[in-house]
């Protein structure tokens, strides 16, 4: 916090002084995969779009302006918040043997990895998300995908995962793993994804 205040004070003296209204600060970070998103900073007197790593802006009643911050200033100001970030959610993907209630052999291993990941986390909760292929309508696929998710939840609960830590969702045909033509059956899209937080 000191570092940033000091940097602002220096900037203010170079710019010929400023009445130093407190300015809220926004810093865009690179994502974990190296990509950089976009944040639009707006107030009644102005706006700016941040879209590069460590791009920063400050906001006060007199407007929005761009700032330059170093990584060490980011660490000084935001170290506590960054250190408290929860672990990133991780997804596991489960397939059934065709026409059965049995997981494939590979999916049984995936379930073991899921349980190990849950054991590593503090108070883990999971969402079991069913997906269908691109055959059929939205409503029927929504219902089907939710049924599959509920079935996987029941199996996980029977393996000892507390039911109150598991929610279910039916994503229907909205998020195919393999993008193929409408109406084409595709086993790889008929899957259940388990997101661990």
């Amino acid at each position: 916090m000191r570092g940033y205040c000091a940097a602002l004070a220096v900037a203010a003296s170079i710019l010929g002084g400023c009445a130093a209204p407190s300015r809220d600060l926004v810093v865009l970070l690179p994502d974990k995969d190296g990509k950089v998103g976009t944040v639009l900073v707006q107030n009644p007197k102005g706006s700016t779009e941040l879209n590069s790593a460590y791009a920063a802006a400050s906001s006060a009643p007199d407007g929005v302006r761009r700032e330059t911050v170093s990584k060490s200033e980011v660490g000084n100001v935001f170290g506590g918040a960054l250190a408290a970030q929860p672990p990133r959610p991780i997804s596991f993907v489960i397939y059934f043997e065709s026409g059965t209630d049995e997981f494939t052999e590979r999916s049984k291993q995936e379930v073991k990895r899921l349980l190990a990941e849950m054991a590593r986390r503090q108070a883990p909760d999971i969402t079991v998300i069913g997906h269908t292929d691109l055959v059929g309508s939205d409503p029927s696929n929504d219902a089907l995908s939710l049924q599959r998710a509920e079935r996987v939840k029941a199996i996980l609960v029977s393996m000892g995962v507390p039911a109150e830590r598991v929610s279910t969702a039916g994503r229907g045909r909205r998020e195919p793993l393999v993008k193929i033509g409408d109406g084409v059956p595709e086993a790889r899209n008929r899957r259940v994804e388990i997101s661990v937080r």
């Binding site: 600060l25 639009l40 707006q42 941040l50 039916g170």
Partner: protein, 150 residues
Amino acid sequence: MLALRSLAVYTALFSFAGILPLVAQANDIAQFKVAKGSVYVERGGQRIAARVGTALQPTDAVITGADGSAGIAFIDNSLLSLGPNSVLAIERYAFNSTTHEGAFDAMLRKGTLSVVSGKIAKQSPDAMKVKTPSSILGVRGTEFLVQTRD
């Protein structure tokens, strides 16, 4: 100190008839994954000590003390974390797990916040807004930091 804290927890449990921590409710939207030092949830005018596993509901506020920090995972996989001396109000949270449509408005009244946006912001660029007393941030993704200065 310990006794006082236990009493606070007990009072909180009692006043919510034991429903608050660790048992999922239909309107739970997030859970604490990290809670260090003093961390509180303000709900309906009451202040409840938060710990790992405590659930959040829409319109809750999260408060950290001088020694506090907190990490929260939302059901759309948004991750928010607070540094010390911070106050974050969840003003609105809605998430449709089928369509990924939703709305997420949060206000950092003071302190520091780290955000990793989740499925709500990914689905519709205008659905997530983080505010400070002087500004509104439109979140197109994904990772950013906010400080509200007194």
